[in-house]
Amino acid sequence: MSLFKLNPQTAKKLRRFREIKRGYYSFLILAVFLLLSLTGELFINSKALVVSYEGEIFFPTYSAFHPGTDFGLDYQYETNYRQLKQHFTDTGSDNWVLMPPIPYSPFENDASTGIFRPEPPDAAKQHYLGTDTTSRDILARLFFGTRIALVFAIGFMVAVYLIGVAVGCAMGYLGGMFDIISQRLIEIWSNIPFLYMVIIVFSVIPDAFTIFSRILILLGVMVLFSWTSMTYYMRTETYKEKSRDYVAAARVLGASNTRIVFRHILPNVLSTLVTFMPFTIVAAISAITALDFLGFGLPPPTPSLGELLKQGTQTLRTAPWIVMSAFGTLVVLLTLVTFVGEAIRESFDPKKFTLYK
């Protein structure tokens, strides 16, 4: 009896999920992408992976700031590793630089002419999807934009589930006046227009706030106005499970409310809520992209899909590659998550699921 032994029902559901190839492979692709993107700085970065200078090896990706003088250049600001590589090749020295496959950072303006304008895709310059209106590499911005969107969506989902499950479960379990009052408050709360709240909140945040804390505030505002829908499912499911005899049996044994909720009700309810998770993620990605598109989302210069879409629609004729790549990425991303969601819904469907397979 090991601790990690899966409930056979859960094991069967997972097996069914694996049998639904489309959803399973979408899940694998997303999982691999998410894992890779956590170390995305190794693939897409203006900093070199390895620099060998005068017999010493440097790893600038995750290490401290290296001014140009560290590598015998004549400037104090951060080394431009692409130029350094060019410099080493030109001088034919033993020193060498290993750059990532896409040697651009998402924040870097790479305007060779000195004028910021979108450049079409150019494999020779390693701008595989071109540059945006301020000459930043689109592939780099798409990659990191997707990463932020996914991490943001997962954080959003976790927070919404935590609050929604806790409140919904309390309402369903305690019932009575608490339930009625909370239900009315939730109805009022969910009628506050979310977009106006975002605009108001962002207009009062002082500029001194860091980008990271701004992203957290945005996440907080979005969660604050989204957790309510979760409580509806949770409340009814808890009501349903609470009245079943296994809960009565636990109560006759003298089990405490905490024990009944955490050992009996929650495990039985959560299996149905898992089905909603991918769709919550889809909703979060769409919402954050829409907000970015309107200019109320992630603060600039954070790379984001919505911001690229906005640029792309403004330069639809002159630089169609911007909107095409951003739109394509969004479609692929949302389709993959939706496929996963469909597969989970299919494999967790209690009606199709027979115990005696």
Partner: protein, 333 residues
């Protein structure tokens, strides 16, 4: 107040219920005001002696399950007394109830519902010990094996889940859970109604064997008179929240006095093709316990109803086979 007498001459009854009432508020309107009450149990008194089985029979909706759940303290009764070994437990909170939880246990009707499908048999059977903080892991595992052996399930069942068993086996798990803490009284809420007839007798015999071995008392709730007759020492008949007649098992079948009991007994099928049934068929449905009829609440369906029945409320008589009917009250005076 007349009380169903104990058949054996026992000074102390294990369970003493006096004038127990369970009225559920009926919420109405948008402000959820309590307008009326559902009088599911309306003044029930009974005694159960140690080692005795009291059968409780009635139609569905007559309040017999509610009565059982009140005694198991799943509900807080509106009024009345539930004394267990001399102590009133009707108003106790969760903490002071804990020692009584060990003594009063319950078996439910549908074992699929009453066993958590996400727990293994071991988890289900260890829960009583965990809740009451009894013994260490080794002790619990040993006790689980013993319990499974007692109810006739193989020890290897511990890692299995309820859905891997048949209905009868599942009910055995439920029984094992209820006897885990060595209780003195078990409320059996229609424990065999959800089972096949062939399995019913096995489960009933298991209950009888366990009773002999551990000197258990049962409050055996059922709607099937034949099942109750098999297991009960005494039988009480319930109608609309009240006990209408009670008596020692055999005698109530032979000399049913209350018209309701008579019609119930006439409805028992007799396995004899030449038997000519004289059924007293009741017409109509059980009246709503929210608006019970005036006077004797059976008068709306009673074949022998008199004029007085709609105004005077009968009380349970003080006899060896108490009955709550004006037919007999009238003859006495």
């Amino acid at each position: 107040m007349s009380v169903i007498p104990l058949p054996k001459k026992q000074a102390e009854s294990l369970l003493r219920v006096r004038d127990l009432k369970m009225h559920f508020p009926v919420k109405e309107g948008i402000f959820m005001r309590t307008g009326k009450y559902n009088k599911a149990v309306d003044g029930v008194s009974l005694d159960i002696a140690p080692g005795e089985t009291l059968g409780l029979v009635g139609e569905s909706g007559c309040g017999k399950s509610t009565l059982g759940r009140c005694i198991a303290r799943l509900y807080q009764p509106t009024a009345g007394e539930i004394s267990f070994e001399g102590q009133d437990i009707a108003k106790l909170g969760r903490k002071p109830l804990m020692p009584f939880r060990r003594d009063i246990q319950m078996i439910f009707q549908d074992p699929m519902e009453s066993l958590n499908s996400r727990h293994t048999v071991a988890q289900i059977l260890e829960e009583p010990f965990q809740v009451h903080k009894i013994g260490n892991r080794e002790f619990r595992q040993k006790r689980v094996k013993e319990l499974l052996d007692l109810v006739g399930l193989p020890a290897r069942s511990v890692t299995r889940y309820p859905f891997e068993f048949s209905g009868g086996q599942r009910q055995r798990i439920g029984i094992a859970r209820s006897i885990a803490l060595n209780p003195k009284l078990i409320i059996c809420d229609e424990p065999v109604s959800a089972l096949d007839v062939s399995i019913q007798s096995q489960i009933l015999n298991l209950l009888i064997d366990l009773q002999k071995e551990f000197n258990l008392s049962y409050l055996f709730i059922a709607h099937d008179l034949a099942v109750v007759k098999h297991i009960s020492d005494r039988i009480a008949i319930m109608y609309l929240g009240k006990i209408v007649e009670s008596g020692v098992g055999e005698s109530i079948y032979r000399t049913a006095r209350h018209p309701y009991t008579q019609s119930l007994i006439s409805a028992i099928p007799v396995p004899d093709p030449h038997h000519v049934a004289h059924r007293q068929i009741l017409v109509g449905d059980v009246p709503s316990p929210i608006n019970p009829p005036s006077g004797c609440n059976f008068h709306t369906r009673c074949p022998q109803a008199m004029e007085i029945c709609s105004t005077v409320v009968p009380t349970l008589s003080d006899e060896t086979q108490p009955v709550s009917c004006l037919l007999y009250e009238a003859s006495k005076t």
